[in-house]
Symmetry: C2
Subunit: 205 residues, 2 copies
């Protein structure tokens, strides 16, 4: 028998993710091995245990929107558009993340608690967005009294839509994400009286 | 052998709920029967199938906060307090509901989709709250431009806190629900200029 083709870690994670999401935490390892074209013992040799595989294939990672928010508001684009861009980026991230959270919850890992992220992803995003909104406020481009409350409302509304849609399908979160978020941004943020045409100290990207 | 004591439907539902929430959708019927002190065949005779039992024990019901919101704002209590009362009532409801949604999702039922509620619970609550806020606005007791957006923000923030806390524990939704919601209410609703001292047509409860 010729040596079986080597599968990469990424291929293993992708196969495991697909099978766990389709079948839930009780999915047999055999189905993942079959998908990869290797034997179950060979798969176990690579990953250690089923729990370890589930953890690395479905583990929550820090929200990628944080990198979008980190530099603060850009000068050349309306605040509303920038905010919407970051939130829709996070919507796509959540759509990938949420199904895995449901699987992990009933795994032997005991859910996301077992994953030891330093800052829980929902907290990290609220903090990143609060900082971003505070900078937008300081630059005079928006008027809002409580950046933290606005971040809570925006993150919460977005997360709830993703959770609800995962639980019950699109009728549980009717309407268009973008339209709902834009409306919320307009209610929470009013454009500043001095519309950001004053020179900034730091160079914005 | 003497006739076994009859268990009520409510007892069956409570036992099933406890076992499914503790062990997930793959919990054996035997564990539920044992908890009830009856045999597995006797349990199946009562409930039909495991899926039917899971459905009736964990089925989402319409949010009970709808009944609190239905009469509209009362005259004798500040709007903020009434809103907070309804939202915290709904928080308690969600804490009961959310764990069951996670179990149902990986059951043979295919999640909440299989349960055929006329109006999905999150949609019903947004509609109920939008109506309530519209009445508060029309009575001049609060100023808010978009009752629907405010309802989306409040329901979303609350649902997200309950979902996040279920997924990752209290560090995923840090702080006090009541304080977070009160802050959000203050950001979204400003007290009306005419503070509701004008006579109302209908008698408020």
């Amino acid at each position: 028998m010729s040596r079986p083709p080597r599968v990469t870690d990424l291929q293993i994670d992708e196969a495991a993710r697909a099978v766990f999401l389709a079948q839930g935490p009780s999915a047999p390892l055999q189905d993942i091995a079959k998908r990869l074209g290797i034997s179950q013992p060979a798969l176990l040799h690579r990953v250690g245990t089923k729990e370890a595989l589930m953890s690395r294939a479905l583990r929550p990672v820090p929200p990628t929107a944080l990198a979008l928010l980190e530099p603060g508001p850009r000068d050349n684009t309306p605040i509303e558009d920038q905010l919407l861009e970051a939130l829709l980026h996070h919507r796509d991230f959540l759509r990938q993340l949420v199904p895995g959270l449901f699987v992990l919850h009933y795994s032997a890992l005991g859910g996301a608690r077992a994953l030891h992220l330093d800052t829980p992803p929902p907290v990290a995003l609220r903090e990143g967005l609060t900082k971003w909104l505070t900078r937008a406020k300081r630059s005079g481009r928006v008027a809002l009294t409580e950046p933290r409350a606005a971040a809570e409302a925006l993150c919460g509304a977005l997360e709830a839509r993703c959770f609800n849609a995962h639980v019950g399908g699109s009728t549980y979160a009717p309407g268009d994400d973008k339209a709902v978020l834009r409306q919320l941004i307009r209610v929470l943020l009013t454009p500043g009286e001095a519309p950001a045409r004053k020179p900034q100290k730091r160079t914005a990207r």
